[in-house]
Each structure stands twice: as C-alpha cells, then as structure tokens.
Amino acid sequence: MIESDAPVTLDDSGDTVPTDWTPAALSDDIPAASAAPGQLGAHDLAIWRSASGRIAAWADRCPHRGMRLSHGFVRGERLSCIYHGWGYGEGGRCVRIPAHPELAPPEAIRVPVFSAAEASGVIWVAEDAPDSPPPEFPGLAAFRSLQVAAAPEAVAAALGGTGTVIEATLAGLSVVALIQPLRDGAAGLHLLAPEDSDPAALDALSAAVEALRRRVEAAEEAAA
C-alpha cells in the first residue's frame, strides 16, 4: 500500500498503484444521447454521451446564462442548454445559437472541458490529461453507484481498506469498490461485481451495500 491522497488502483500483483483519474459514474447510467451531473473536486460536471457514444465531462455551466448543462439535452454530437438552446460540440465550443441560426458563434464561447475516459464500465474524469488510461478490472462489471453521507475514509474503512480502489467481499461476492470524494464531506461509492453473478446474488449485494451505508452514516451521525 502507498500513502497518497491521489486515487490508486491495483496492478497485476494486487498492489496499489496511483492513477490520476477519479471515478465519477457508471457507463450504463449515462446511455447514448443523455447527460447527467457529476463532480470532480470543487468542480460541478456535466457528464454526457453523444448519439454516437462518445463520453465527455464538461463544466456544468452554460457560458451564456449559467444554467446547469447537465439539465440539457443531446442531439447528435452536441450538448444543448435547456435554457436557450445554445449548442456545444467538440472541445466544448459553442456551435449553435438557435435565436441566431445564421450566426457562426465566436470561438471564445467555450465550455471548460475535463478529461473523461471509460474502462470496465466506469466513467473516470480528470482535470488535466493523465499519462495513462484509467484502470481495467478484468472479470468485473459495473454494478451500482451510490452516495454516502459520510467521509470517503469512513466508507473505505467500513469496506476494510483505504484509498480509492478497495477489494472487498460483500454478500459473498468479491467486489471492487471505487470511492469518490464528494463535496460536503460525502462519498460516491461505485461498485463492480463479478460479471457472471446471477440476479439473486446481485440483489443480495445491493442489500449488503445499503446496509453498509446505513451503518457508516449512523456512525458518522453519532460522532457528530
């Protein structure tokens, strides 16, 4: 184990190695032509997938009037703001202003863009462009994302680990838990389960992780 605030992952020998990526959502939770809110540190994100399947993570703020872009809608390869329909394409650049359909929007109108990549059914985000891709977890499939009203360290400890990537056994299944720090002292918990698990085993896993959340939150509340 290494001591670091940076997210870590497991290498082939099961040791932890650092990654500059932060887990933000599960791929299945953001299907083609849809957008969802996310977080990276102090940043609010609009995580969205184009009609052709490309994933992107942008600042969750329309440069026009500040509306959250995660409330927006996707047509083709563009994310549009729900407020006045300004549409943004490749690199966050404004490509369409519906009230002025013949205007080519100035290049300066741009949404700040973050790095986003997918591996093993998890969407990872980063502020800069990390040197290596996000980690793969062979044999595992993304299961559920939950939020826990407790510190990431407390969630990790309840799973018997530390850091961002934790191997644990829950409801008899060998799972990987990815812990995401969220604002207000909360944690995102993205779970991966063996890909051949049957539905009943996954129901039991879901119940086990809900129970774990209740325990961690009760302990956090008692300590407050």
Binding site: A36, F73, V74, I82, P101, L146, Q147, P199
Partner: protein, 224 residues
C-alpha cells in the same frame, strides 16, 4: 369527466398526465388554490369536505384521492395501465401506489414548505424523503438488472404515474436527484412516452422534438 385542478399541484398533474397518455380529454376546472384558497370555499367543500384537490366528477361519481382517480381512468379507458397481468404485478402496483403517499408526505411536504411556506420540520421531511428516494433507486436498479424500465414490469402503469411527479419535483424541496442514476433513467423513460405532457417544473425531452429550423419568412420580412 370534470377535473377540479390546480396547475402547480403534483397530485392534479398525476391525473392530467395519465389522461394525456391514454388519450382521454378532461374537462378542467381551474381552482385558485394559491393565493385564493378556493379549495376551502363552500362550493368546493360541498364537493370534497377534506378540502383537497384534485376532485374528479364523472356521471355522479365523485373521487377525491388522486390514486383512486388514476385507477378509475385506467379501468374505464386503458386497463393495461392497471398492471394486472399476474398477482405479483398487481401487488407491485398496489405497493407503489401506497408508496406514492410516502412521497407526497415527505418530498411533497418539503416542497410545500420551501415553495408555499407550508409548516413542517424541514430536516425531518427531507430525511424521510431521502429514505423513500433511496428505496425507489434500489428498486429501479434491480428492475434494470432484469431488463425492466418501470416499477411493475416492462411497461408503465398507474404506479409509475403516481410516483413520478413528487420525485421529479423533489429538487424544489431541497432534495437533489443527482445521487440517483436509476431514478434519472426511469424519469427519462416516462418523459419519452407518447402523449407525455408537462407541468411547471417538469419539462419534456427536447431531443424528441424536431430541431427548430430557420426563422419563418414572414418574420424575416417584418424585421427587414
């Protein structure tokens, strides 16, 4: 079929939404709930001594509970929406109809507190609403694992319509929906249904409508 209606009431919207989805026209009578307090006027109390809306009046039948109105509309005009294929499906519909009252009493009460200055212990209401939303999220994620998009199976029923409004409007009561990916996808599935109608605070899926074209000629000429 007369519906005594208030545009900002999620319970009235349940009825308007189902009627639209099954293609039935309602004779709407607007009741000035806020600020007029018309639902507490003598003529309205004569119709419904509880002083609540919606009230449905049809052929001498007067119904004052929105879930009963949903059952009546579906039974009369679109029995598929009752979800009575099997004893289990019928029970799931009954379960979620009863659950929808918990949403009204928690998320709905939190919204009434924040928007209409209704009395209430807002922290307790949000706590109860969070428990209900987590329960819904867990159930919908289990449904997704079985390839189902709705609460009682692979097609929408009155149970979905009963639960949808107070969930969609929960952010008005200080309850963000960001933590609930399966709820988000379920709401998308409902908003994508043929005949879906909006209420203030719940918008349609813009991407399902054709993109606005160029300005019509007539407007261009006026501008010139």
């Amino acid at each position: 079929m007369i519906l005594y209606d208030y545009i900002l009431s999620p319970s009235c919207y349940r009825v308007r939404l189902l009627a639209a989805l099954i293609g039935r026209r309602l004779d709407l009578r607007a009741v000035d709930v806020h600020p007029g307090q018309e639902h507490l006027s003598e003529p309205m109390l004569a119709l419904n001594p509880a002083g609540t809306i919606p009230v449905l009046s049809d052929d001498g039948l007067v119904l004052t509970e929105s879930t009963a109105i949903l059952s009546y509309l579906a039974a009369r005009h679109a029995p598929d929406w009752l979800g009575e294929d099997t004893p289990a499906m019928r029970a799931r519909v009954a379960q979620w109809l009863a659950f929808s009252q918990r949403l009204t009493d928690s998320a709905g009460a939190a919204r009434a507190h924040d928007m209409l200055l209704a009395p209430g212990d807002i922290d307790a209401l949000r706590g109860q609403a969070t428990k209900a939303l987590r329960e819904l999220e867990a159930a919908l994620s289990a449904a997704r694992r079985r390839g189902e998009s709705f609460l009682a199976g692979n097609r929408p029923t009155i149970a979905d319509i009963a639960c949808f409004p107070h969930v969609a409007l929960a952010p008005d009561g200080g309850l963000p929906l960001d933590p609930y990916p399966s709820i988000r996808l379920w709401m998308r599935a409902i908003r994508a249904l043929d005949g879906f109608v909006e209420m203030p605070g719940i918008h349609r899926l813009h991407e399902l409508k054709p993109e606005p074209g160029p300005m019509p000629e007539v407007i261009r000429k006026e501008q010139a």
